[in-house]
């Protein structure tokens, strides 16, 4: 009898403490994640300039969005950036990861490789703005000393986006390589030994063992870097500010302009929701693909 009441008190105690323990996080979650998300969705159905009260306009914003040439341009530019950025970055990172795995496990080298990722985007952008300066930049000095013409890089409509993609590959390739390297450590070495005994060469082992067994990590890396890549912004603030002309006016920059330059909060929210829908669709597609093929070692 006494034991049961004791247990009940302890149980009630546990619940009380549990609620107190999660309370701060629930406040933070509601105030800055949950409610803002819902509010953003609601705002996307309004016209709101912060001065006058918000006006409900139904799906007018979404209809406008579908025929908004500037938005479609921003979307195209962003997709172009993602296509320039992700495949090359992933391939380089994979190559680096395999080399690290095979030839050196040195933490010092891995440390150096993640250094660019530890630096703020703003600093990385300034650094490359200087390296790529048309008149004095080091890269152009090298190009000219080799007898070629100087390149405008960030100042050119055609070169600006590839250049920004290259800058971000510099910042992220090492980081991505470290993630993939960690994945490689989980592949048992005896699989390779068995394959070597069977006479498999390097290329066959890579295609037959490394890639399939690395797939879960690879998919994770692809999903997160794609989501990040679609939200490119900081680099553009420093290097091109959306220009030259509209060559680097990505979706995030477009949202920024609507919200904080034109103060059209409703339409900015609509673009944000659209970007979110695009990202979630990509994620779901990739996750499906991942689940369907997750049968590696098991």
């Amino acid at each position: 009898m006494t034991i049961r009441t004791g247990a009940q008190t302890a149980r009630r105690n546990e619940i009380t403490w549990a609620l107190l323990f999660i309370l701060p996080s629930i406040i933070g979650f509601l105030a800055f994640f949950a409610i803002p998300s819902v509010r953003g969705l609601l705002m996307s159905f309004t016209n709101w300039d912060l001065l006058r009260p918000a006006k409900f306009t139904g799906i007018a914003n979404y209809i406008k969005l579908l025929s908004d040439k500037e938005f479609l341009h921003a979307l195209r530019v962003t997709a172009y950036y993602v296509v320039l950025n992700i495949p090359l970055q992933t391939v380089i990172a994979l190559g680096m990861a395999v080399m690290l795995d095979r030839f050196t496990k040195s933490t010092a080298i891995r440390g150096i490789l993640i250094l660019p990722w530890l630096l703020p985007n703003i600093i990385v952008a300034l650094l490359w703005l200087w390296m790529l300066d048309p008149t004095l930049g080091f890269i152009n000095q090298v190009i000219m000393s080799l007898g070629f013409e100087r390149q405008p890089f960030l100042g050119s409509v055609t070169q600006a986006m590839p250049t920004i993609a290259a800058i971000n590959i510099w910042r992220h390739a090492g980081y991505t390589a470290i993630l993939l390297f960690a994945g490689l450590q989980n592949i048992p070495k005896d699989v390779y030994e068995a394959a070597a005994i069977d006479g498999a060469d390097e290329r066959q082992m890579f295609m037959g063992i490394t890639l399939p067994l690395l797939r879960p990590v690879l998919i994770f890396v692809l999903v997160t870097s794609l989501i990040g890549s679609f939200q490119i912004f900081d680099t553009i603030v420093i290097t091109t500010k959306g220009g030259p002309v509209d060559a680097t006016r990505v979706v995030y920059w477009y949202i920024y302009e609507y919200a904080f330059v034109r103060f059209k909060m409703g339409y900015a929210a609509t673009i944000s929701v659209a970007l979110f829908l695009i990202l979630i669709t990509i994620t779901i597609i990739q996750m499906r693909y991942f689940n369907a093929d997750s049968s590696d070692l098991d």
Partner: protein
């Protein structure tokens, strides 16, 4: 025998090749950072003339002095700089205050929540945790505008530390998730023993769990510190006034003030060099832990 020798020789040439490639990657990674430092220490006139020298040309501290506001604006302009200095110390202080406060709050409150999710039993526990997990999937762009309006209108926290800090002070979904995973992995025995001794839940948390979790807590803190330190858009939107700028915002403002045609590269790179120092320090002291932490995040 012969085949064995052959493969051995093959491996060693491949190794040489691999080391050369790795060496080039390290060079490509480090050289631009060195070039920033080199330019920061070079004098304005020499930068234009001696563009190829690997060492600082016409070595000088003037760029640094200018950025740190040790010259009057007339002197700065005479040197080819801009009248606006960077107010480095103020920006540094703001970055330190914002990042440190954020991670202290976030780590502690997220640890409390994570402990409850990992060890305590209460109704809707798994549902609430699932909600947190979904929030991890929502990209920052969705909450950016609503959170800005919250600060600008309802809370009126524009241009304050608390406005910059608040959104990630009480939790981030990732921090809760990260620590919950860790708490699930640690041994129950010590807790059970403490419980039998009659220790209360908060006492167990503070005296048993937290001390056991120092590696995980500091790993998380380093990751989140860097994230906060590197953040640009949020502190820029909230801390617009000169007295609220963080380092990233200060650098961006400094860049926007320098003339477009002939930027003050010496000054910009001196400012960048100074801003690099905190990250480099973290890197030197916690490099190994940071590498391991990043490797861990791959498996979240």
């Amino acid at each position: 025998m012969t085949t064995l020798k052959k493969t051995k020789a093959g491996i060693s040439t491949r190794q040489i090749f691999a080391w050369i490639v790795l060496g080039m990657i390290v060079l490509v990674t480090l050289f631009p950072v060195w070039w920033v430092v080199r330019t920061g220490f070079s004098s304005k006139q020499e930068i234009y003339v001696d563009t190829f020298n690997l060492l600082p040309v016409g070595p000088t501290l003037n760029n640094f002095k200018r950025v740190l506001g040790m010259f009057s604006s007339e002197e700065a302009v005479a040197q080819g700089g801009t009248a606006g200095a960077m107010n480095f110390w103020m920006d540094l202080k703001n970055s330190l205050v914002v990042s440190t406060t954020t991670i202290l709050g976030q780590t502690f409150f997220s640890a409390m929540a994570a402990y409850a999710f990992a060890r305590l039993k209460f109704r809707f526990r798994d549902q609430v945790f699932f909600l947190y997990l979904t929030a991890m999937m929502i990209p920052g762009v969705v909450t950016l505008v609503p959170n800005y309006i919250l600060m600008a209108r309802e809370l009126q926290w524009m241009n304050t530390y608390r406005g910059i800090i608040a959104p990630s002070f009480l939790m981030t979904p990732f921090a809760v998730f990260f620590l919950r995973q860790f708490f699930l992995s640690i041994n129950h025995e010590l807790e059970e023993a403490a419980k039998l001794d009659g220790a209360s839940i908060p006492l167990i948390f503070v005296r048993v769990i937290l001390p056991m979790s120092v590696p995980a807590l500091s790993t998380l803190a380093i990751l989140q510190f860097l994230g906060n330190w590197n953040d640009y858009l949020w502190p820029f939107l909230i801390g617009k006034g000169a007295d609220m700028r963080t380092l990233t915002v200060g650098l961006a403002v400094f860049q926007s003030q320098t003339p477009q045609g002939a930027p003050d590269w010496g000054g910009l790179m001196a400012g960048t060099t100074l801003s690099l120092i905190p990250t480099i320090l973290i890197f030197l002291f916690f490099g190994r832990r940071a590498v391991n932490a990043i490797q861990f995040t791959g498996f979240r």
